[in-house]
Point group: C2
Chain length 194, copies 2
DNA sequence: GGAAAACAACCAAGCGCTTGCTTGTTTTTG
DNA sequence: CAAAAACAAGCAAGCGCTTGGTTGTTTTCC
């Protein structure tokens, strides 16, 4: 369906994928370039042939997820017209990235944001705002349609937080599958009429 | 009202308070013992007179918040009987710790959990479960009272995530005060009847 | 009740080790 | 046979933590 975030054919991508895995598992600061090298089967020095610095890897990983999530959400919204379906798309994309094949990279984006230098954070913020602009529009439409009474901006923050935090407790492969989790999150935002 | 988390009279507490501030701002791994020493005005070596290791400080900070939050919530629940008021107490305590005077320590508990060794995480988990047991009961009662239709465990995870994530975007002192934020969060869980 | 012992708090110095990264050379590969 | 990818070796800086010793304040005890 969608191409994988990192192409296993390309050496640099293999490196970034390994870095994402380790950054996610241990955190950026606690991961050494020697560990990253070992993960892909090369010595630490060789790694700088593909990348300028350790922070470069963090930046590249985040950049990759940001544009991939944006593309995925835009594609999904393009084929959804009614407010409720669009609302579900928001949640679905977020949860699929957080718990699907791109889980490591997405986790790094969410939890290692502060490890990035301020200058590079500013660069990424552009792409990130574009993604959240989509959210804002969908949530505003949902409010107009009477699906929710909360202020769209507030709802965006709360919903995004609730979903992001699933990375701490939700384990795929258990009794609750991703589809069911998506439904539950939708119920949180969109309580049944009574 | 409640005693501060760290007593400025006690040298060890001053140290832990400074550590919490730095751990929160830069992350545990990215903070050096030399920085912590400088923050309280002593040399890095002297710091080990009060504490056995750098990780000890992280542990002590988290331990302090955990029991303080538990005490605060228990006290608040003791004087609240109806389900909705109790629900509000849950949110209120969480947000007051996240954005009040104990913000640094609470942020450390929330965001540096993985930096702690597994053995010590297990120790803290006991106190943490006690806190969440209070949540569980309040949310179950709320469901019984017909205030919400979501499964209490699910709601607990979503709500806690939404609140925890406020530390990334909510800045106290702005247009939205803590009381108003609490109301908004309550509205998320408890949509107006219609 | 006053000397002796203990203690809390810190400094100055530095040890052993790890860190991110560089350099020069060799191997692999299209 | 060149370009890409890796190795081997190591540097400078910084890391957590230890050591031995100096203060000033309590506590102990005959």
């Amino acid at each position: 369906m969608t191409p994988p975030l990192f192409d296993p054919e390309k050496p640099r991508d293999r490196l970034l994928s390994a870095a994402a895995r380790l950054f996610h598992r241990q955190g950026f600061a606690a991961t050494t370039v020697r560990e990253i090298g070992a993960e892909v089967g090369i010595l630490s020095g060789s790694l700088f042939h593909h990348v300028k610095s350790k922070e470069d890897m963090l930046f590249a990983v985040m950049e990759r997820v940001i544009s991939a999530m944006h593309d995925a959400l835009r594609a999904e919204l393009a084929s959804a017209s009614d407010p409720q379906t669009r609302l579900r798309a928001l949640i679905s994309v977020e949860l699929r990235y957080l718990h699907g094949p791109a889980a490591d990279a997405t986790g790094v984006l969410f939890h290692e944001w502060r490890a990035l230098s301020e200058a590079r954070r500013a660069v990424l913020l552009d792409g990130r705002s574009a993604y959240f602009a989509l959210w804002q529009q969908v949530l505003t439409d949902a409010q107009t349609a009477g699906l929710t009474t909360l202020d769209p901006t507030m709802l965006r923050q709360f919903l995004h937080g609730a979903l992001a935090w699933t990375s701490f407790w939700y384990k795929p492969g258990g009794a609750l599958d991703l589809e069911a989790l998506t439904d539950q999150a939708l119920t949180l935002v969109l309580p049944p009429l009574r």
